[in-house]
Symmetry: C2
Subunit: 202 residues, 2 copies
Amino acid sequence: MGVLVSGQGTNLRALVRASEDPAYPARVVAVGANRVGCPALEAARQLGIPAQAFPISANSGSAVIRDSSLAAWLLQQGCELLVLAGYDRILTAPLIDAFPERILNIHNSLLPSFAGTMRAVEEALEYGVKITGCTVHLVDAKRVDGGPIVLQAAVRVEDDDTPNSLLERIHQEEWRILPEAVGLVASGRLRVEGRVVRSVHR
Amino acid sequence: MGVLVSGQGTNLRALVRASEDPAYPARVVAVGANRVGCPALEAARQLGIPAQAFPISANSGSAVIRDSSLAAWLLQQGCELLVLAGYDRILTAPLIDAFPERILNIHNSLLPSFAGTMRAVEEALEYGVKITGCTVHLVDAKRVDGGPIVLQAAVRVEDDDTPNSLLERIHQEEWRILPEAVGLVASGRLRVEGRVVRSVHR
């Protein structure tokens, strides 16, 4: 798999940890970022994984051009599956077309609640929900956070939660379900029917 | 409490069961329905609880007129709190004004997902969520299913779930959290801050 990152790389580490098990059906072979110097890139390099930033510079132009280079590089590295692990950019056609039905994203809410926002944890607290969580879904071209759902995990909201304390517990669940979802997709054990994802073997 | 029903009365039974505990801070003193002959009304009568239907007939007019009569009758019976237990009508002003911040509703989804629909369980399955559940919330005049949330419970969706099998597991959780939420409100142990509900004592 290729992994796209923007931040600290904690989900990336969870994927690398999972793939240390010889029985796990995928390996991280490339890490891309939209920013030079993001900590996750440095973490990837320290783990010996090819890692590269693809910023949009004043003269290199648009997101589409960036995504073309990124897609070409990921394919060159041997990626057959793409995981967005806290990647904060919307993908354009060249990337989506390079990995048809093979792109996974993680969102820190129980979709469809709090879709399409980078502030999902804050918005859940402001709304006053008592249960939130996280969602791993396939990325489709139509809607941000709208693709078929692979796995979800629920997290209880406590009365004294701050965005940070709640996010920390959601992260714990993300580090569990993201590698699990990647394993299901990589081993071909999922069937996508319209927008419903089912297991082939139980 | 007064309880409004439209269907089988299983949530009503859960409330009556809870109130058999002497330590429980509320009792069911009246059951109203929008339909003559709904099974929940008959169940209430068998339990010895004053029960009455308030249908809208051709010559008795509107939902507002119905809700005025219903509110007057509930207050006469001594209700201080109103619980919508599978009541499938939207309340109008006379009822909402009679029980300010003292009306609880239960919805069979994890709000804000699948709000404002009677088909929340079907829609959750069609959307392909892996976790759904139920929500007890205060009713406010502004939005259907939009009031401050008191309690939620999560229910896992299984690959082979039908609307009926999923609804059955959601019901189990409803019968648990609805009496619990009523107990919290009746004992004055909740504080509503904007749209966030917190416990006063833990």
